[in-house]
Amino acid sequence: MQDQRLTLLSTVALSLAAFASAWGALLALAWWLLATPRRLPFHRWRSVLGLFILVCATSALVALSGGNGFSYFFRISVVLLIASWAYGERRGGELLDMGTWALGNRTGFELGLIAEMAVQSLGDLDRDLAMLRLALRLKTGGRITLRSLVPALGLLVRRELDRSRDFGDILAVRGYREGGSLCPRFVRGPWDGAKAACAVGIALLALLP
């Protein structure tokens, strides 16, 4: 999908559908199979494995407390699949574009800018954690203790705070006070509208009684 607004709409609709019922999850899964390149984030297998274990454990708890554990597992797995697709589709600046498009050059611009900064920080944190793991492995030969992690993570937080302060300084130096002027442009792929309509249809089918 090329139009970020329709990607967001589809993500929200399909997530709601998948969470609402097993049928909704099945239809959302079918949508994912037909409307996306079907790429799984196996290059981040540690994160995938961690999430899988978490979902399995929660599903087991649901089953033990008398609920339908299998249904819960299936629904949450599809929600994560849709989230993974949406994350892979993201492009730099899209949140600023969407914020401005939806809420205008003042509130929308500011909300979009904050969202962009948050996403950028997540990316930075991800890279920092990878480097931290490598440095710990080289230093300790793989033995990571809580005592060694505390200062390492403390420095990571400080680094992130420094970055935020620097970014704030840059905005202030450039004379930023509030809002901004932006004319967002969205490119629409030939099937984007149809895919989004299907996603909304699936949500309506799953949510309507």
Partner: protein
């Protein structure tokens, strides 16, 4: 003791680096502009990035480490003393070498990036490594500390040292020069023969070469001596 890059291709995002050659005992300088792939090569040599094709073969390498460009990643001790101890070292001499004597009980979070860099480099250089990889070790250091660091590095006689940098002010004595250009690593050969083949040497070396001098090595002193010899 050697590290062989056997038709290696490493990918990091959309970037691709191709490398072939052998790093043998001594100090190797790997140069290239910012974004040329030096850090990618450093990560691959440290075993943190797996080549998509080819292989990196280590022969006789027992211990190895990589100094990352940002020293914060290495820190695991709450105080400067504990940080040095976490490397298995006695704090006092290392803190002295880092110019941080008498500050052992200080919180590492209070150090500037330059101080942390000095501390981490001093810890790394206080130990013997078969393979020592240094990615931009001079960033955050002032000229005096760059020179002190270059001196220490030039004194290393054991093991393989691979220095990856675009530094062009202060460089140590090296044995071999490598260059990354257009995503490809190539050896320029041993010093001094490699110096005239260097496509982007630091300005002080370029000036000496333009004046017809061939330095024995790449330190400022070597270049000054060569220019003096040329002028008679």
């Amino acid at each position: 003791m050697r590290v062989i890059l056997d038709d290696v291709i490493v990918r990091r995002g959309s970037f691709q680096l191709t490398a072939s050659g052998t790093f043998s005992k001594g100090v190797h300088l790997v140069t290239g502009p910012v974004g040329s792939g030096k850090s990618t090569l450093a990560l691959a040599l440290a075993g943190a990035l797996r080549p998509v094709t080819g292989q990196i073969v280590e022969d006789g390498i027992g211990s190895r480490t990589l100094a990352l460009p940002f020293p914060e990643y290495h820190v695991t001790g709450e105080t400067l003393e504990r940080e040095v101890a976490s490397w298995g070292l006695v704090p006092a001499p290392v803190l002295e070498a880092a110019g941080l004597s008498g500050r052992g009980g200080e919180d590492v979070l209070r150090c500037s990036q330059g101080e942390l860099k000095r501390l981490v480099l001093s810890c790394i250089l206080a130990r013997e490594w078969d393979l020592l990889i240094l990615d931009e070790p001079c960033s955050s250091l002032d000229c005096a500390w760059k020179e002190a660091f270059a001196r220490k590095l030039g004194e290393r006689r054991k093991g393989i040292t691979i220095l990856l940098t675009h530094e062009d002010e202060v460089l140590p004595r090296v044995d071999e020069i490598w260059e990354i250009q257009a995503g490809r690593l190539a050896s320029l050969g041993r010093v001094p023969e490699a110096i005239p083949r260097w496509s982007r040497p630091p300005r002080y070396i370029r000036a000496a070469l333009d004046a017809g001098a061939l330095p024995e090595n790449i330190t400022r002193k070597d270049v000054r001596d060569a220019v003096c010899r040329t002028r008679g």
